[in-house]
Symmetry: C2
Subunit: 223 residues, 2 copies
DNA sequence: ACCTGAACACCGTTCAAGT
DNA sequence: ACCTGAACACCGTTCAAGT
């Protein structure tokens, strides 16, 4: 008889399946919902079962980060100018992180803790080295670029509010707070209030972010 | 008889004294050490006492962030070019955040939750507006610049290791991990390994960071 | 190899009560 | 106004044990 399959099947636990479930949970309900005990019941298992697959909770979060970094699809290196190639690296990273605004805060401190993260760091540093930066400069700039991509996602206006289900209750409260400010003291804040609450156009938001980063590198190069 | 003063005096609790104590604790032992119960015993008081001064733990963390933002000393506006003025804003922000690498991760999502944070945001947006950016652009760029300053501090190589007391035990472990990488696959990472572990020169690290940000803005402006 | 059961030492927070 | 006491519903984690 073939093993049972279907919705009620209890799959064998594995690092990957646990991390995948944890990521989906975090995307839906936020990182605070990711709890050893919650994951255990979601997997129909005892909390201690998870400790066979992960040393501790921090290692489990490393696993979530690895899962996201493994989505990055880097293009092959070529002979185009450094700015074109840099864009070709940054965009796939953004594409991998962007679906996970509630989880992105995990990523910065965890790049060096997984093979996919190491690969993408190696690639970025190599590109910056060949553009003319020293090892010290290249490693700092590469780290900063990655952090910046993550920051763009983490702080995309409106994105983080998806954690609580009362999406626009939070937005309304924030709007009320901003609009209660003294217009004499905070004219510019009031003029721009709407752009802190929701993102007018996500694509142009991210395009501007990437442009900023590439121009920043160019500025350091020609200084 | 004058009220007792000296080392054993139990001061009256206040929002400010609690936040100050919490910040010092976080600077010494990291944010995980900042616990309602720990702060209570540090203040020789019951955990519930803190709930009179702060709605909940999140509000207490807001208080810590406000404490740091209140250290920012902005210069008066003047008629110099936008890049000079932008530098004159970014540097005092950096100066306020830099002493608190273990706490800086709190700051990004909390700028708009205190008067000092609102003031500095207003100022940055105003400057970018007068440099020629639209309200949407100015607010996005201002938010990104602030996040970037914070990121520079949060991820300054070696800074975060000061949480655990075994400072160079952690550094040694990280070095071992990096040096165990295959030199064929990660040549650039290995060449730059040292710069991920400790910061060669903090001042040039931060100078490069600020230069990057200003050049990034210039790039968007001339695009 | 993979998982369970019971227990420990912590959390944040509510609610009613004291002065 | 400011703080206490007792209690609740959670955490992560250790340790010994089962199959």
């Amino acid at each position: 008889m073939a093993p049972r399959t279907g919705t009620a099947t209890r799959e064998r636990l594995s690092r990957e399946s646990i991390a995948e479930g944890a990521l989906e949970l975090a995307d839906r309900e936020g990182l605070d919902a990711v709890t050893i005990r919650r994951l255990a019941t979601d997997n129909s298992v005892t909390p201690m079962a998870l400790y066979w697959h992960f040393k501790d909770k921090d290692a489990l979060l490393d696993g979530i980060a690895e899962r996201i970094y493994s989505d990055v699809r880097l293009p092959g290196a070529d002979q185009r100018t450094w700015d074109i190639q840099l864009r070709a690296i940054l965009e796939p990273i953004l594409a991998a992180v962007r679906p996970h605004p509630l989880v992105s805060e995990l990523l910065a401190e965890r790049v060096m803790k997984s093979i996919p993260g190491l690969i993408l760091s190696e690639r970025a540093i190599g590109l910056l080295r060949s553009a003319g930066f020293s090892p010290a400069e290249a490693s700092q700039i590469a780290a900063f670029l990655l952090c910046s991509i993550i920051t763009l996602v983490t702080s995309e206006p409106g994105a983080r509010e998806k954690a609580g289900e009362d999406v626009d209750a939070i937005t309304r409260a924030k709007r009320a707070q901003l609009e209660s400010l003294d217009p004499k003291l905070f004219p510019n804040l009031l003029e721009a209030a709407e752009f802190f609450l929701v993102c007018e156009d996500e694509d142009s938001y991210y395009a501007r972010g990437i442009d900023f980063l590439i121009e920043g590198v160019r500025g350091l190069l020609t200084a």
